[in-house]
């Protein structure tokens, strides 16, 4: 199944729930609302055979746009056909349903996105910080993040 066919299938099954499709971009993607995502994820894995979640990138798109999660999916065979799914959420309600039961690797990726960007993944069994220390404050990859002056009494910003 080529990428075009996957997009067509997704369009047929989800119709209006897919808000945007760009096949001409450097990284072709489909966009959907957060509420559609669990259904779409299961559809992509089970019907389209995209069995590998290659990457989950959280992006802070800046004021007025919000946070974005980009899921790069791929079929793990010789064709290596894949597509990206983008989901945009506002800062004040940065919640995306978790897909750790669909692709198990999403577990750690979602923890990372929560840790660094503060996107909350609903339904995740253990959404705690993964890279930063447990008592770290703030989400470092947000554009408005200021690194702490002191951490546990140790001076941090020296330059």
């Amino acid at each position: 199944m080529e990428r075009g066919a996957i997009v067509a299938e997704v369009r047929k099954a989800f119709g209006e729930r897919i808000t945007e499709v760009d096949e001409a971009a450097l990284e072709p993607f489909v966009r959907c609302e957060a509420s559609t995502w669990p259904d779409l994820a299961r559809f992509l894995k089970e019907r389209c055979g995209l069995d590998m979640l290659v990457c989950l990138s959280g992006i802070d798109r800046g004021k007025g746009v919000g946070l974005e999660a980009v899921y790069n999916l791929e079929r793990c065979d010789a064709s290596r056909v894949g597509i990206a799914v983008k989901i945009r959420v506002p800062y004040e309600a940065a919640v995306i349903p978790s897909v750790e039961t669909v692709w198990r690797t999403a577990d750690w990726h979602e923890r990372e996105a929560w840790d660094l960007l503060g996107i909350r993944f609903e339904g995740h069994h253990n959404l705690v910080r993964i890279l930063c220390a447990e008592d770290w404050e703030g989400h470092p990859l947000r554009k408005d993040y200021k690194s702490p002056d002191r951490y546990h009494g140790i001076k941090n910003n020296v330059v």
Binding site: A25, L26, E27, D51, M52, L53, V54, C55, S57, G58, I59, D60, V70, N72, C76, D77, A78, S79, R80, A84, W103, R104, T105, D107, W108, L116, R129, I130, L131, C132, A133, P140, L141
Partner: protein, 389 residues
């Protein structure tokens, strides 16, 4: 989890009469076998591992934050320190993402392409040498480690001549490579290939053919292909499970389609497909394949430019988003790059293969012994710089 607990209880003679106590063992972040600063919380029943949970982040060096704050050219320096055993691959992966933003009109000069392949494959050998050496050490054989380092030093010397660094090269830059390689150096690389191939036999004698080593690794930490894909494992870990996925073959980047090489996969020679021995053996065989590629590249390397004229000293990648992956020595190394047309990239996300590979550890170590857990961690061959970024 509960099923595992009952199975260990069943192993104990006397069954229910024998009361055993679970012990919570904190392995790492400083432990000789965790390959850096991995911390694994292990719940054990005697020597039996009931469950384990890897804790990462002890080497979180804020790579992605740096990429948002320094120029694109400077960011290459930080990619070195991700998977510091295969810095060439990291450079290339990042540069490929940046180059993709420029679109198809950006053509990388032929000579640079060949140099990239040679450096990447040599670096793959160096990385696998360390993986094999430390793996031997994990199961108790110290001497192979020293032998591997002996060969590794030769590769590092070559790199030092090429780019002045032994570990973090900062050599492959967007649009080409930093410096040219002279013919004497290419001849030296050819000599190294001839020197190196018989040395692999030595490792085979010491480890691959060693009965104790085989007994320690075969049937240990069996990772099924389905589980590996579910966890996003790539590289030797996935190939050890019998899945012949290699980006150099599937989606040839650079000029890999011009070379002839095989993709070694695990076949369960001594046990089950996807056990520690298979993962180890894939690495040993990949070293031969890499040598093969280097030799082919040395034969046909052309002269000419090493940098594309299209990329100026001040790199301003065009607006856009790109996601590229290369086959690094630990698996698919991907970079998701978002540029808003400025000198500093808007966002860089690194898809680190080790991050996926280590996350599968609890699944494949349940019910094994403590010594097996060490063997399993070693066979996954993680680099914490990449896991934690």
């Amino acid at each position: 989890m509960s099923s595992e607990a009952t199975s260990t209880a069943a192993l104990a003679p006397g069954g229910a009469d024998l009361r055993t106590e679970e012990m919570l063992l904190n392995m790492g972040p400083q432990h000789p076998a965790t390959h850096g600063v991995l911390r694994v919380m292990v719940r054990t029943d005697g020597e039996m591992v009931l469950d384990c949970e890897p804790h990462v982040g002890y080497l979180h060096r804020c790579f992605e934050k740096h990429c948002e704050n320094v120029t694109t050219l400077q960011a290459v320096l930080y990619t070195d320190r991700l998977d510091y055993l295969t810095a060439m691959g990291n450079n290339w992966g990042f540069c490929m993402a940046v180059e993709k933003l420029y679109g198809p009109e950006l053509v990388i000069p032929e000579r640079a392409q060949y140099i990239r392949v040679i450096c990447q494959e040599l670096n793959r050998i160096a990385s696998h040498l360390l993986a094999i050496g430390t793996y031997g050490m994990d199961v108790g054989a110290i001497t192979p480690f020293l032998y591997c380092f002996r060969e590794r030093e030769k590769i590092l010397t070559i790199f030092e001549h090429i780019c002045g660094q032994r570990l973090n090269y900062n050599y492959i830059r967007p649009g080409g490579v930093a410096y040219d390689v002279d013919d004497a150096m290419l001849a030296l690389i050819g000599d190294f290939c001839s020197y190196f191939l018989p040395k692999i036999d030595e490792y085979d004698d010491l480890l691959s053919g060693n009965d104790i080593f085989v007994k320690r690794t075969a049937n240990v930490g069996v990772l099924s292909a389905k589980l590996a894909i579910d966890y996003g494992c790539t590289g030797p870990v996935l190939r050890g499970s019998g899945v012949p996925r290699d980006l150099r073959k599937d989606k040839p980047y650079g000029i890999y389609e011009r070379f002839e090489f095989d993709v070694p996969v695990g076949s369960g020679e001594h046990g089950t497909v996807g056990d520690c021995f298979d993962r180890y053996m894939v690495r040993v065989r990949e070293m031969r394949e890499s040598t093969r590629i280097v030799r082919q590249a040395l034969k046909s390397i052309p002269g000419g430019e090493i940098r594309s004229a299209k990329i100026k000293a001040k790199i301003r990648p065009p607006k856009g988003e790109a996601f590229t992956r290369i086959e690094n020595s630990r698996g698919d190394l991907g970079f998701y790059v978002v540029s808003d047309g400025k000198e500093v990239l808007y966002r860089v996300k690194c898809r680190a293969p080790s991050f996926h590979n280590i996350s599968v550890l609890p699944e494949i170590s349940r019910g094994s012994m403590l010594a097996d857990l060490i063997a399993i961690i070693g066979s996954l061959d993680i680099v914490l710089g990449e896991v934690d970024r």
